[in-house]
């Protein structure tokens, strides 16, 4: 009983399509990146909106935003994904649900995964944005209003730009989390990187090579994203401001 290593298996033509197994892994990587970027974009937009709402002087809006955060933060990501993918289409009016289910399966899986990851992450982004805004001196808001800027302009030109600079580090780790969390999309059949590892095991019957290769790819992704965010962090530094080094 011994394990037969076959690293060259990746260069063999895959069981279907024109690619090699290495090509499958590349496709998985591309899917992971596309999924993560789309979800991150959505999380930034929704999270910023919700974060702003949490800090506005209006009970109803801030309450709604708080409820939004609690819902998406207190249900496991996997459960949320299954609800978006399996449950929601059944609860929609039948015509809509059926229309969604007739779409190309990859489109369905991708859409469900983006929406799920996007909302899940947005709840966390929202809390960071809120913390960033709340950590600004209150006088900033007053000074901006005193100049005649409206509340919306105050957020747009004064509070958000500053808050975002302050929260680059936690946002970096959320961004990294999006890439890691995107692996759950494999459970609904989306062929991203983690799913490709499983599929490679199925097709090549070489589990260790497949897992090692995919693990290394995730680590490489991590390095790339991290250095990207370092660059953003440097760009976002405010000269002379405390916290800038």
């Amino acid at each position: 009983m011994s394990y037969a290593w076959h690293w060259e298996v990746f260069l063999q033509p895959a069981a279907s399509g024109d690619a090699t197994y290495l090509g499958w892994m590349g496709a998985g990587l591309a899917m992971t990146v596309a999924l993560s970027l789309a979800a991150w974009l959505m999380a930034l937009v929704c999270g910023t909106l919700a974060g702003v709402l949490r800090t506005v002087p209006n009970r109803l809006w801030s309450g709604l935003a708080a409820a939004y955060v609690e819902v998406f933060r207190n249900i496991p990501l996997l459960v949320q994904l299954f609800i978006w993918y399996f449950v929601l289409p059944e609860l929609l009016p039948p015509a809509w649900g059926d229309a969604f289910k007739q779409l190309n399966p990859v489109t369905q899986q991708f859409a469900a995964a983006v929406v799920c990851l996007g909302f899940f992450t947005s709840a966390r982004v929202c809390e960071h944005v809120r913390a960033g805004i709340e950590s600004l001196p209150r006088g900033q808001r007053n000074a901006s209003l005193a100049l005649g800027l409206t509340l919306a302009q105050t957020y747009r030109h004064v509070m958000l730009p500053m808050a975002f600079r302050l929260i680059v580090p936690p946002l970096t780790s959320e961004f990294l989390n999006v890439f890691k969390n995107s692996a759950v999309a494999s459970t609904i059949g989306l062929l991203e990187l983690a799913a490709q590892s499983r599929q490679l095991v199925d097709y090549t019957a070489q589990p260790y090579e497949s897992f090692i290769a995919v693990t290394v790819m995730y680590m490489a992704l991590n390095v790339v994203v991290m250095s990207g965010m370092r660059w953003v962090e440097r760009k976002a530094q405010v000269p002379g401001y405390i916290g800038a080094k």
Binding site: M1, G189, Y208
Partner: protein, 296 residues
């Protein structure tokens, strides 16, 4: 993350990935431990699945029990402890390889690729790969699937056949690979796919779970014949001999036919449905002359 992490990772890979293997064969291992570990499936109806009390039952499972009896007799250990580990189509091969489980009888096709990593016992069943579809869907055979969404289970031979067919005949199908048979059937039942390609016996099994079994039908020309076998650790002739003998005895004595009738021709849990899946020529031939040949 840094270069350091890469070094650490490389180290971890070397540490963990070199599997530690015991010497001395599975029989000795079982004897030393006083226990045997069986791999089973959770929703491969009617081969190996949970009933509503979470007990493992099924055709393959019953055959595996007979094999266990033979092992007990061989080792003269009537009180041998039996442990059950549920496996999925993704992890069943690694789990046999790393010795977590000693034998797996479920619905695993014996093929040459897998023979590189594991051994197979005498075959226990022969299936053909066909389609499950709604009776009013208009799908009669594989040719009708062009341009449609079709579901199959990830990691199965059906998945490969379906993809190959799609490539070769340029059918433009969108193929959904579900995690397991249950999820595949759910995909079909909720209307995400028009047909579910799988081993015919399993399709009949999924039918048994449907909310309205009468709405569904198994159709299409079988695309392949496949032999199910029990998976065993590779290169362990002594262990394989005991299991093979037990299975051969079962088949030639006529007992296998009784087990077959129990699971395929009579009402089965969880809903008391009868699969009505008569004994095929292939299975009859297998019962007459037990063997461990793969069909491909």
């Amino acid at each position: 993350m840094s270069r350091r992490a890469f070094h650490a990772a490389a180290l971890a890979c070397c540490l963990f990935a070199a599997p530690v293997f015991a010497a001395g064969g599975t029989l000795n291992k079982i004897k030393d431990a006083g226990a045997i570990t069986l791999g089973h499936r959770e929703s491969s109806i009617p081969f190996s699945y949970y009933d509503d009390k979470q007990q493992v039952i099924g055709y393959s499972h019953e055959i595996m029990q007979k094999a266990v009896d033979a092992i007990k007799a061989e080792l003269k250990l009537p009180s041998l402890a039996v442990k059950l580990v549920p496996v999925t189509s993704q992890n069943r091969i690694p789990l046999i390889q790393n010795g977590t489980i000693d034998i797996e009888c479920g619905s695993t096709t014996n093929n040459l690729e897998r023979q590189r990593q594991v051994a197979f016992s005498n075959s226990i069943f022969v299936i053909g790969t066909r389609l499950l579809t709604k009776k009013n869907s208009g799908i009669q055979d594989f040719a009708d699937l062009a341009g449609k969404n079709v579901v199959t289970t990830a990691g199965t031979t059906s998945e490969r056949l379906l993809r190959k067919m799609n490539d070769d005949r340029k059918m433009g199908m969108a193929i959904i690979s579900a995690k397991d048979h249950g999820e595949a059937f759910l995909t079909l039942e909720t209307g995400r796919a028009v047909a579910f390609m799988m081993d015919d016996a399993l399709l009949y099994g999924e039918l048994a779970k449907a909310k309205r079994p009468g709405d569904w039908a198994v159709v299409g020309t079988p695309q392949s014949r496949e032999a199910y076998g029990c998976m065993l650790p590779k290169d362990d002739a002594a262990f394989k001999k005991v299991v093979d003998a037990a299975i051969a005895r079962l088949m030639t004595s006529g007992e296998a036919e009784k087990i077959y009738a129990k699971w395929f021709m009579n009402p089965i849990p969880p809903k008391g449905l009868n699969l009505n899946f008569p004994l095929s020529e292939d299975v009859k031939a297998l019962y007459k002359a037990p063997n461990d040949k793969a069909f491909d």
